[in-house]
Amino acid sequence: MTNPVLSVRNLEVEFHTRRSILHAINGISFDIAKGEVLGVVGESGAGKSVTGLAVIGLIDPPGRISGGEIYLSGMRIDHLPPEEIRRIRGKRIGMIFQDPLTSLNPLYKIGDQIVETIRTHLNLSETAARKRAIDLLAEVGIPAPEKRIDAYPHEFSGGMRQRVVIALAICAEPDLIIADEPTTALDVSVQAQIISLIKRLGRDHGTAVMLVTHDMGVIAETSDRVAVMYSGRIAEIGPVQDVVQNPLHPYAKGLMGAIPTLAGEDKRLVQIPGSMPRLSAIPNGCSFNPRCGFVFDRCRVERPEPIAHGTQAVACHLYDAAPKTAIKETAA
């Protein structure tokens, strides 16, 4: 069996503040295979974006990767010296940020920014790079790319700018694209176009995609698998179909209950009471325990580790066979 494109093992990220150390990521593991789209979903502050930044090596002080390993196609990349991880960024891992309005340098023509990136990673002449830039712009759906290549970022709409950002992310044919909330800042009408563009590019080039979002709808539409994150941990991970239709973790159940569907107009949307704990006040045991309806004593003292459960993996004591649990949920 070939290595997965991305393999994250027991990753831990912490931030040193004046008062204390905040654990933003608390031991997470997941894989993304070639051509696979992994959706990472969770509330803001759950650690989704930090995970993406950790993978691409952009955790800046006071933050640091304090444990675990990250492998890109079998090669460990989390301990590389800055210059080597720099060569991987943009070449083997492309990144798309949330806000296309601020992702591009306003003082440079978009063509110059693309050519600059291409020539950083590929050994191409100025003209060849420019030609490639035009092709890329065409591929991401910018009309009249040979003209628009000499335009400044502010001359594009938000959706078009996000296309330019995507072109920049894929310009060196990366193995993996990390898309951090790529549609959040866009109009709803544009969101679908960008989503389908990312999906198409992943399919056409066999690129693995890590799609970070808080929008379960986007995940359901795009992803092959989904990881549900809650306060720096993966609560549940599995094929998107299974997790959406049959969530196991109480938090995931709440999350899925919060997706509006056309079929169930009579059902009220559910909200999960309370809010995610701040990083400075993560409770002992399972961090979801103060909000959980199924909480029992063990949840308050012992942190649940992921347990395989069919195609899914869930970090919840309810599914641990060893101790007798009070409530048994049927997984059919």
């Binding site: 952009l58 960024r89 940020f97 992702s103 306003p106 003082l107 950083t120 060196a172």
Partner: protein
């Protein structure tokens, strides 16, 4: 673009008119011009004749129009002290001041930007902390004290550099320059540092603050995510974005440099317009004061205008909003 330039030009003319009124009021009302021309034993009738010949009994508006018309042709009347036309005095002194101001600005820009970039990129290094401390001292020390200190060190104690004057100058047309002789260049060093030090600290602080701000932006983060080299990110992207506001401020500061040259020129007995102005203030030579105010304002206003236009050239966002007003 044209409309914008035109609007700024009209504003500039407005400012010049306001300054002109102040300058005229000084010239006309602060001290009677007649007294400055006639001697003490002149009879009342003769005084009246002089008054008439100077047009001082015309309506004030007309006098102002005449004053302004003359000023537009660089006719500022006659200096009380020197009994010479103010315009020729100023013209004679202007090259000295401009050369000093330009050298000081170049000094301030080069070192200010270098030190600012360094202290932004290596924020916690010892050298950056030294720069910060020096900048605080640079802001706190009055210019004349810096000048005296430099003279004491490099002229009195070490004897390396001259402590006053311009050295040997070469006449190029009506312009006199100290840039072409060794003694002229040596004479420029201390005054340029003295005059430029305050601007240097200002530019350094500004570059540091702007650069730190820019380094936090999304497009820098994205540039890093694209795997660009640190060098390209710092000196290609961050520096260019930093320099836009810095150019503006440094440009606008050039006017202040000329005005601040008053102090430096006094310390170093530099034969420029500033020294002329200080002597005029000491000796109540109103025509020179009024003319100097007008000249400096003209330089100020011109620079503001140029900087505004330059700004739109550097920043494409402004260019298009100006081209296509919303």
């Amino acid at each position: 673009m044209l409309a914008f330039t035109l609007r700024r030009a009209i504003q500039a003319i407005g400012v010049m008119l306001a300054v002109g009124i102040i300058s005229f009021s000084m010239f006309r009302f602060a001290g009677d011009p007649v007294n400055q021309i006639v001697s003490l034993d002149t009879s009342a009738a003769e005084r009246e004749a002089v008054r008439k010949s100077l047009g001082l009994d015309d309506p004030v508006v007309m006098q102002f129009a005449r004053y302004f018309g003359n000023a537009a042709q660089f006719k500022f009347g006659v200096s009380y002290q020197f009994r010479q036309p103010v315009s020729s005095l100023l013209a004679e002194r202007m090259p000295a001041t401009l050369e000093l101001a330009i050298c000081a600005t170049i000094f301030a820009m080069v070192f200010g930007i270098l030190m600012g970039v360094y202290s932004a990129l290596k924020r916690d290094s010892a050298l950056a902390k030294i720069f910060q401390a020096v900048s605080l001292i640079g802001i706190s020390l009055p210019t004349f004290l810096i000048g005296i200190l430099l003279i004491y060190l490099f002229s009195v104690t070490l004897g390396w550099l001259p402590s006053f004057g311009r050295g040997d100058v070469v006449r190029v047309g009506w312009w006199t320059t100290g840039l072409l002789t060794l003694s002229g260049l040596k004479a420029l060093i201390l005054p340029s540092i003295t005059l430029g030090l305050f601007q240097l600290t200002l530019i350094m602080r500004l570059v540091r603050a702007e650069m730190l701000e820019v380094l936090r932006t999304d497009y820098i983060r994205f540039a890093r995510a694209r795997g660009l080299t640190t060098r390209a990110i710092h000196f290609g992207h961050a520096l260019k974005n930093t320099l836009v506001p810095v150019i503006t401020v440094a440009g606008l500061q050039f006017g202040s440099v000329i005005a601040f040259a008053i102090i430096t020129e006094t310390v170093f007995q530099w034969p420029g317009m500033g020294l002329l102005f200080v002597q005029a203030v000491q000796n109540v030579d109103i025509p020179i004061m009024a003319a100097y105010l007008l000249m400096v304002s003209l330089i100020f206003v011109t620079i503001n205008l140029v900087v505004d236009i330059l700004y739109t050239v550097v920043d494409p966002r402004l260019r298009s909003t100006i081209r296509r007003p919303a």
